[in-house]
Amino acid sequence: MKVRVKSFAILRQFLPRETEVEIRDGSSVRDLLDLLVKQAPPLANELLNEKGELKDFVNILRNGRNIHFISGLDTPLSEGDLVALFPPAGGG
């Protein structure tokens, strides 16, 4: 299946602003991130902590909804889903 991925802010140093990713049916957000990190290894530092878990402040939205409120990294993906990755800004 294909999903669309959009990246924002610092993540754009490692990912295209918008890209279509081919991934096997039944994949989760975790599978998608694994694939993205394989394609762009420096992305791991931005997304994952030293234990390999997602840094909790990186917002991942599936079709506009934060995966923190769905099933986290186990959130399932479907054909045509839009996944947005954005680390929030904090300064003022």
Binding site: F8, R12, N66, H68, F69, P88, A89, G90, G91, G92
Partner: protein, 247 residues
């Protein structure tokens, strides 16, 4: 609501065609809390004063330092060591003699916030940390006030208008804050984001346009691009207490 004087009509000659005299009167009768007098706070307070908000309460507990001057447009080199809100009040009054400015030398805490939002119509986020932003967000929902969130990092920035009863709260939009600490910031980024925040405040007070409610603008100054993404409520959020937009 009293009518605008002749001198006020002259001052706002170029924007009354946009806002209408009623819109201009609504701004004059509105009180805004600018929370923070740093990069975003400087720009927001300046833009609110120019636009003709009647009252600005500006809150900050810091003094002007040299490394503020790349982005905190209210301050000059001679202001080094002075309290930001005192300098800000002087500068804002110089810009707009009709403006009532209330400088408050305080840190925003759960204890101080009640007094800070008293009599306020709109809260504008000029903070540099999420602990204080969450306090403002909770006060917005407690007092039923719009809260215009803005934040910056380098060339990047974000804005969203948080409206109790209509939108998710900040806890829903940013459930986990980025690690605290100083981030690199450019004056042009706070200029962009702060101006958009005040545009939101003007729209909310005058009723013009469509607020960025339930949406977040993500600005990328390196690409010269903005994107607006939908933001949704956490169905289990206890902070906005069922008063945010339906999930």
């Amino acid at each position: 609501m009293t009518m605008l004087s002749l001198v006020e009509r002259e001052r706002y000659l170029r924007q009354i065609p946009l806002l209408g005299e009623t819109g201009q009167e609504r701004l004059r009768d509105a009180a805004v809390l600018v929370a923070g007098a740093g990069g975003l706070g400087s720009v927001c307070a300046q833009m609110c004063a120019c636009a003709g908000f009647g009252k600005i309460r500006i809150v900050d507990n810091d003094v002007v330092e040299r490394h503020n001057l790349n982005r905190q447009v209210l301050y000059a080199a001679r202001d080094h060591g002075l309290f930001k809100v005192d300098v800000a009040a002087r500068r804002l009054r110089e810009n707009n003699p009709w403006l009532s400015v209330e400088p408050v030398r305080e840190t925003i805490t759960r204890e101080s916030i009640g007094g800070l939002v008293c009599g306020i119509d709109v809260i504008i986020d000029g903070m540099d940390n999420y602990d204080a932003r969450y306090i403002l967000d909770d006060a917005a929902f407690g007092e039923d006030l719009p809260f215009i969130h803005g934040a910056v990092n380098g060339f990047y920035g974000q804005v969203s208008s948080i409206i109790p009863g209509e939108t998710p709260c900040l806890h829903c939009i940013v459930p986990h804050p980025p690690p605290p600490g100083d981030v690199p910031i450019l004056g042009v980024t706070v200029g962009t984001i702060g101006s958009i925040q005040v545009a939101e405040a003007i729209k909310l007070v005058t009723g013009l346009g469509k607020p960025m409610a339930g949406r977040m603008l993500l600005w990328d100054g390196l690409m010269g691009e903005a994107e607006v993404i939908p933001v949704a409520r956490d169905p289990s959020c206890t902070r906005c207490n069922g008063r945010g937009v339906a999930p």
